[in-house]
Amino acid sequence: MAIFNLKINGKKHQIDVDNSTPLLWVLRDHLGLVGTKYGCGIAQCGACTVHLNNKAIRSCIVPISSIGDQSVVTIEGLSEDGNHPVQKAWLEHDVAQCGYCQTGQIMNASAFLKENPNPNDEEIEGAMNGNICRCGTYTRIKSAIKTAAENS
């Protein structure tokens, strides 16, 4: 066990965990930030996507010991009250079915739009291919990303 000082959603946290613990389980089990989902544990589904220094990463394979003082943003910290353009576009297009993968989709999409504010369809597909949705909401995710791009 070791003490880690983390900066998550702009707040400082101190936690005592084994240094191999993935960020995902620190968020979920130790900090109660359960918006970040467990889907596969091997970076294949994207449900656990968070931002590390503004880049989308799969928190299920990132050990807590590698975070250091980098800033972590989870879905809970993406916006004050759900008003990020991507979140608003998700509601406008009524994207979700079961909703389980959607926080990961939103975190991936929001990081992607920061890098590429006006993506074409192919670029959206390339960026989002790592996020699985078993319910099959892909067409609406794509539309929502386009709407968010227009409104950002």
Binding site: M1, V17, D18, S20, T21, P22, W25, R28, D29, H30, G32, L33, V34, G35, T36, K37, Y38, G39, C40, G41, I42, Q44, C45, A47, I75, E76, L78, S79, D81, G82, Q87, W90, L91, D94, A96, Q97, C98, G99, Y100, Q102, T103, D121, I124, E125, G126, M128, N129, G130, N131, I132, C133, R134, C135, G136, T137, Y138, T139, R140, I141, K142
Partner: protein, 751 residues
């Protein structure tokens, strides 16, 4: 107007229910946190709630809380079911909050998600809930104003008395209405009087979903709760021999390692108690990661089991014996077994006319065989359940489809009365049939009982994918006899699988062909199977609709016109009396998809396939356009026509159709679980291929047949026919027929 007695579900109208007041589960703040706010407005919360019935509370300021009874797994019943109540109650939808009901069948009826039956089964009962509440509010106003109830009208949460000009918001009358007797009979609206039903309303849970608030079973947390994981046998055909937990118990954060035996000896299983691994080892610890580490280190020995029988109870109380064969099965061997059975005569299930003679006299016979593998459900939320066994009762918070089916099992395994089982139903991160088989709740409860702590059981993705309840492996051979006048004179289907046959002997084209034969067969297995989105239909539709495409081509007919001609015969002069479809409605979706896809215009540049199917009381037809790009099939567009009767929430229904189409294309192209010596050969998403965004159709265009027929389901029906539409379109694109799923396995796509 429809006058209805309220006896049906009358117990549900009891006003003094604990649940309506948030009473029964009030101790668990997590549940009250499941209340959902509509999107558009931030409402002032009422100071006081008045319980009108078990489904409804109205605040003094007119805000209403509707308790949604059924489990939600993405079909959006938490929006559409409250809409049914709000419609008859003339509520202002902007002032409605939705809460999830806990499991409480005497208040909420059959709380069931499966078989696309939710809206269908709740259509009248929930409207009656709303209509009787409205009547009680009107009675309150009539008494207060001293006028006749007949003269009172309602609109958007306001009561009016025209001649005196009096009006009041529902909130003002709620306290008096709560004391009014439940009406003996109520009047339901006619279809043309609907204001809310038939309008698109956004998912009431949308704001919580996009902000990541806790809703799912996996998100459930209770003070002092431990995490539990299980180790199940690595192969079907195996069971526990022994385990050594001495090292693991010393690992950090680990509290206990216990043996869990899910069923008492001699327990008669119900139909949804399927569980290939009734004995598992459970590891309990402080955090998920610590338990995962311990699980990797746990020493367990497994052994093969001998063939055994188990007694299962049917729904009507009948019992039957089922043999579970010993052995470690492999896919290669399964294929050989299937080839052998498929080559022999099957069990005749239906026979019309004289198929044998007609096949003998045919000038041409077309014979084609289709197959599909086992499939894993792969819900994005892995299996989990919270359980807190406390002396003589248990509290559960669980993502599951059919609570009622697991309650008797829980009572027997925990040795407590059923009424001591309290269950919160969490949102499910997908279900697709998998979460109808809730043996994991039994495991969770037994673990809690053994370690005497509240625990949350979590399956790893690997545990989830290798635990069974798969879609069975299927095979079907179709034959069509054509005479020298180029007419289809006989039809033969023989279908089987491991461990069940997918045959529906009385479905189309039965009833449309004079000489018809349907046979089935099956091969027993110890690999556990279960319902998977549109069971059996999810294979038969693709096989049948691909075959009909080949027959139409052979006859030189347009594939839609060919189907319509058969349906015309089935409508006007049906063969046999037990045909499980309405030929006119079936033809209706084909007509609509033909029109909406511009099928009859010059489409020589499009590579398109058609397919239609009827299952779960709803009709669906698809036209799919595909292009082969760089060796990959790219679905350009799917045009879809559905007849599910009245569409309660059109955008939500459209979402269901889109999801079914994408899920179906994914499973058709990639879905497959294989076995070697009993071991599932895929255990996570690196080797189990799921459809990704770039492989989804570029456009989906959904249309509904407009009619006033009571609504039927949307969860399953659009799924099965897409397999056939894809296969038929791929044929147009590259001249190859697709007989074996997954279509893209080890196969270079010509284009």
């Amino acid at each position: 107007m429809t006058l209805l007695k309220t006896q049906y579900g009358r117990r549900s109208f009891l006003k003094t229910t604990a649940v309506a007041g948030g009473g029964m589960m009030l101790g668990f703040s997590w549940l009250t946190g499941c209340q959902t706010r509509p999107i558009k407005e931030v409402m002032e919360m009422p100071k006081e709630w008045f319980e009108i019935n078990s489904y409804l509370k109205i605040g003094e300021n007119g805000v209403a809380t509707i308790i949604s009874p059924n489990p939600e797994f993405g079909q959006n019943v938490r929006t559409s079911m409250p809409m049914l109540i709000a419609e008859e109650l003339d509520l202002d939808w902007e002032k409605v909050l939705v809460e999830q009901a806990p499991y409480h069948p005497s208040n909420f009826g059959m709380q069931f998600t499966g078989g696309s039956r939710g809206i269908m089964s709740r259509w009248e009962p929930l409207r009656m809930v709303g209509a009787s509440a409205r009547q009680m509010l009107m009675a309150a106003a009539a008494q207060t104003w001293n006028v006749s109830i007949q003269e009172i009208t309602t609109e958007k949460g306001i009561l009016y008395h025209e001649s005196t000009g009096l009006s009041a918001e529902y909130g003002e009358m709620a306290s008096i209405a709560a004391e009014m007797p439940v009406p003996e009979e109520v009047v339901l609206k006619d279809v043309n009087e609907f204001n809310l039903i038939g309008t698109s309303q956004k998912n009431v849970d949308g704001p919580k979903i996009v902000t990541g608030q806790p809703m799912f079973g996996l998100d459930y947390k209770k003070e002092g709760m431990k995490i539990a994981m299980i180790e199940h046998p690595p192969a079907f055909g195996m069971t526990l021999k022994s385990f050594d937990a001495s090292e693991v118990k010393k690992m950090p954060g680990i509290k206990d390692v216990v043996l869990i035996k899910s069923y008492k000896d001699g327990f008669e299983k119900g139909g949804f108690d399927t569980n290939a691994f009734p004995e598992v080892v459970a590891i309990v610890g402080n955090s998920t990661w610590e338990v995962m580490q311990a699980k990797n280190k746990l020493k367990v020995e497994w052994k093969q089991f001998d063939t055994y029988s188990e007694i299962t109870k049917g729904f009507r109380g009948n019992t039957s014996s089922k043999t579970v064969p010993s052995g470690l099965e492999s896919t290669t061997e399964h294929k050989l077994q299937i080839d052998l059975l498929a080559s022999k005569p099957g069990r005749i299930v239906r026979k019309d006319g004289n198929p044998e003679a007609n096949f003998k006299s045919a000038s041409k016979i077309i014979e084609r065989s289709y197959s599909a593998p086992f499939l894993a459900h792969n819900c994005m939320e892995p299996i989990n359940s919270f359980a807190h066994f406390n002396g003589d009762n248990v509290h559960l918070a669980t993502p599951l489809q059919i609570p009622a089916f697991i309650i008797p099992t829980l009572a027997a395994s925990l040795e407590i009365p059923e009424e001591n089982i309290h269950m919160d139903i969490t949102r499910m991160g997908g279900g697709f049939g998998r979460k109808a088989y809730a043996s994991y709740v039994v495991e969770a409860a037994l673990i809690s009982k053994k370690v005497n702590e509240p625990i949350k059981l979590i399956y790893s993705r690997e545990d989830d994918m290798t635990n069974g309840i798969y879609r069975p492996m299927y095979q079907a051979t179709y034959r069509a006899a054509i005479n020298d006048k180029n007419e289809l004179i006989a039809f033969h289907v023989k279908a089987g699988g491991i461990p069940e046959s997918p045959l529906f002997a009385n479905r189309f084209p039965a009833g449309a062909i004079d000489n018809y034969l349907a046979e089935d067969w099956s091969i027993n297995s110890n690999i556990s199977i279960g319902a998977f989105r549109a069971p059996r239909s999810n294979f038969m539709a693709g096989a049948e609709q691909s075959f009909l495409d080949e027959v139409a081509e052979e006859l030189g007919k347009d594939p839609i016109q060919f189907r319509l001609d058969l349906l015309k015969k089935a409508e006007e002069n049906p063969v046999g009396k037990r045909n499980d479809y309405d030929a006119k409605r079936y033809a209706g979706v084909l007509d609509l998809v033909r029109e909406k896809s511009n099928w009859n215009e010059d489409n020589s540049n499009l590579k398109r396939g058609v397919s239609a199917y009827f299952c779960h009381s709803t009709y669906a037809a698809h036209v799919l356009d595909v292009e082969i790009e760089n060796g990959n099939p790219v679905v350009q567009k799917v045009s879809c026509a559905i007849d599910c009767g009245i569409v309660v929430n059109p955008d939500a229904a459209k979402n269901m159709a889109e999801g079914a189409i994408i899920d179906g294309i994914g499973n058709a192209m990639f879905g497959e679980m294989t076995f070697k010596n009993g071991t599932p050969e895929k255990n996570n998403f690196h080797d189990y291929r799921m459809i990704r965004m770039s492989e989804a159709p570029k456009e989906i265009d959904v249309h509904f047949v407009k009619n006033e027929i009571n609504p039927t389901g949307m969860g399953e029906p659009p799924f099965p026919p897409i397999f056939g539409a894809l296969a038929n379109a791929m044929y147009k694109a590259n001249g190859e027929r697709y007989y074996e799923q997954p279509f893209l396995k080890n196969r270079e796509i010509k284009g």
